[in-house]
């Protein structure tokens, strides 16, 4: 049996080849610890959508890897990402998941911090005279940048600009946000659950078109024929996965909904939305109604952003590693900020149907991922295969490696980035 530690002597690089990875990537706690350092604490990690912190003082709790952070919007409109840890004796300064505040006060000795993280007050300060200066002890601030509403943070002060890191994924982020159909996209609510498996199992799943008709057969059987037909991509040659670089990839499942602004008028609106079409038609021009209804299921693809966010059709999937064999997932339902109430409600019902711990899709995904973790401990010398479609992979004009959506091009892209980051000497 190969011990993970002996493998690592040759560097992590030896654990990931182009078309396969070692099963220890799911099971070795030491690899997990290194992943926190070399991936989660070394790159841009998504922490919030701007609609979650809409006003000055709005904040939410989030995580980067294992570390708790606070994301807020200050009075100047800037986003701040602060470590949720008092500089005095380490207590968390915020345990309210989401809200509005003027600042954060540690409950232990009442050290208080501004929205920017500056230490504003220390009770009974005479004990610190000549010992410490408030200006030296702000909450630790992280690098923050946002792109099209998506807020990312990094522990690395000298990291490349976010837009460089996102690269060609930006095109797909921009297209994704078009599902607002003229309204800004907003987070309407979220499901949260954990599964007993490694975070990369879920990372892989986002561009895994291959599992869909098998794992989600019961969901497919429950939806109307038009929705089932919309997601019948198994033999659709226009349904492809592109590797976008830097670990990012996109799996196109509904090619006609890649760019929701493009509409040749041939697509019939789904009959299941008839009551909303009728309602909106009373006050809106037909083109606008059509634009909103065509966007109801979201964009026609899952965009996987390495390492922790996916823009998945009509929701955000956020993954948070808890330990080598436990991962927390959030599925954030998206709606139209200021858009018709009936549309937002319908989008909530669509989300509930598939997502969440009692959803018709998530329960089965979660079961499949548990099974991967349970099985992967058997003979760690047997690799995990991500070679599907290698023989038919091509490079398209944009420079993206591309193959069918049921192929494993997206996973190969993720693992190439994993390998690059884990081998990085820094």
């Amino acid at each position: 049996m190969t011990s993970p530690t002996s493998e690592k002597a040759g560097g992590f690089a030896s654990l990931a080849a182009g078309d396969r990875v070692a099963a220890q990537l799911y099971t070795d706690p030491e690899i997990f610890d290194w992943e926190m350092e070399k991936i989660f604490y070394s790159t841009w990690v998504w922490v919030a959508h701007e609609s979650e912190i809409p006003e000055a003082g709005s904040f939410k709790m989030s995580h980067i890897g294992l570390q708790p952070v606070i994301v807020n919007r200050d009075r100047k409109g800037n986003f701040n990402v602060l470590l949720n840890r008092c500089r005095h004796r380490g207590a968390s300064v915020c345990e309210v998941p989401k809200g509005k505040a003027n600042g954060f006060t540690c409950p232990y000795h009442s050290w208080s911090y501004s929205l920017e993280g500056n230490l504003r007050g220390i009770p009974y300060p005479d004990g610190y005279e000549g010992v410490t200066e408030k200006r030296d002890l702000p909450l630790q601030r992280l690098r923050v940048e946002s792109y099209n509403g998506l807020i990312f943070a990094s522990f690395k002060p000298d990291i490349e600009p976010l837009e460089e890191f996102l690269g060609d994924a930006k095109i797909w982020i921009d297209r994704f946000m078009k599902q607002g159909a003229g309204f800004p996209v907003k987070v309407q609510g979220e499901h949260k659950f954990r599964f007993n498996g490694n975070w990369k199992i879920q990372l892989e799943n986002t561009t895994d078109g291959y599992h869909f008709p098998i794992v989600h057969r019961s969901w497919m059987a429950s939806v109307d024929a038009e929705t089932a037909d919309m997601l019948s991509f198994m033999t659709d040659e226009n349904a492809v996965t592109h590797a976008l670089g830097n670990g990012h990839s996109v799996a196109v499942m509904v090619p006609e909904h890649v760019d929701l602004e493009e509409d040749d008028g041939t697509e019939e609106l789904q009959e299941r939305f008839r009551h909303i079409i009728d309602e909106l038609s009373k006050t809106m021009p037909p083109e606008q109604v059509r634009r909103i209804i065509r966007s109801m299921h979201g964009a026609g693809y899952n965009l996987n952003l390495f390492p922790n966010l996916s823009l998945s059709m009509s929701f955000f999937r956020v993954l948070r590693p808890i330990s080598v064999n436990e991962t927390e997932i959030q599925h954030m339902a998206l709606g139209l900020d200021g858009g018709p109430e009936s549309v937002n409600r319908e989008r909530l019902r669509i989300h509930e149907h598939f997502q969440g711990p009692f959803g018709f899709g998530t329960s089965d995904d979660s079961e499949a991922w548990d099974r991967v973790q349970r099985g992967a401990v058997a003979n760690p010398d047997m690799p995990i295969l991500v070679n599907r479609g290698l023989g038919r992979e091509v490079t398209v004009d944009e420079g993206w490696k591309t193959s069918h959506v049921t192929d494993e091009t997206g996973m190969r892209e993720s693992y190439a980035m994993w390998k690059r980051m884990m081998s990085d000497e820094n």
């Binding site: 609510g189 659950f193 599964f195 794992v215 057969r217 969901w219 509930e352 998530t362 329960s363 079961e367």
Partner: protein
Amino acid sequence: MKTETVEEVAAIDNRPALQPFDLGLGRLSDPLVGRAIELIWREAQLLDDKDYEAWQTLYTEDGKYVIPVDPDTEDFESSLNMVYDDARMRHMRVTRLVQGYSMSAVAAARTSRTISRFTVEGITEDTVTLRSAQVLVGFKRDRFQMLGADLTHRIRFTGDDARIELKLIRLVNSDSAVNASGFLL
């Protein structure tokens, strides 16, 4: 969740207001309440037995089965819920759970649930609203799972028939991580 004042409870009841020191005790012996509790316990047994087809017949045609995320909301229509089922969704849910295509339903945990701490929230001529506490223990592949919840049932009586018009399940961890499961609460 909003707690009614004694006057408001009395208004629902259509009975004389209770004195402030009176907790409304004694109403558990009301015959309608006894029948409601019997139905709730029958429902619990059917769910533990995973007899979902029998379970769905316990609901009225317009009955709602709700597991909200937001611990405080009463507006389930405009909120994201874990479950917000009308008869159509409930029927699809049962079909999915019994037809054998869902790998999580096929491999669902064995469960045993206890419902107690009944309090009477309201009685009318033909409905009883009860709150209760539920503790569910599940077991699957060497792991125990525990789920605590506050339940509200509104039971509608039509002659000898009693059906569930509303079941509201407020999990104690509803706004935190709730793990996926192939069974129902």
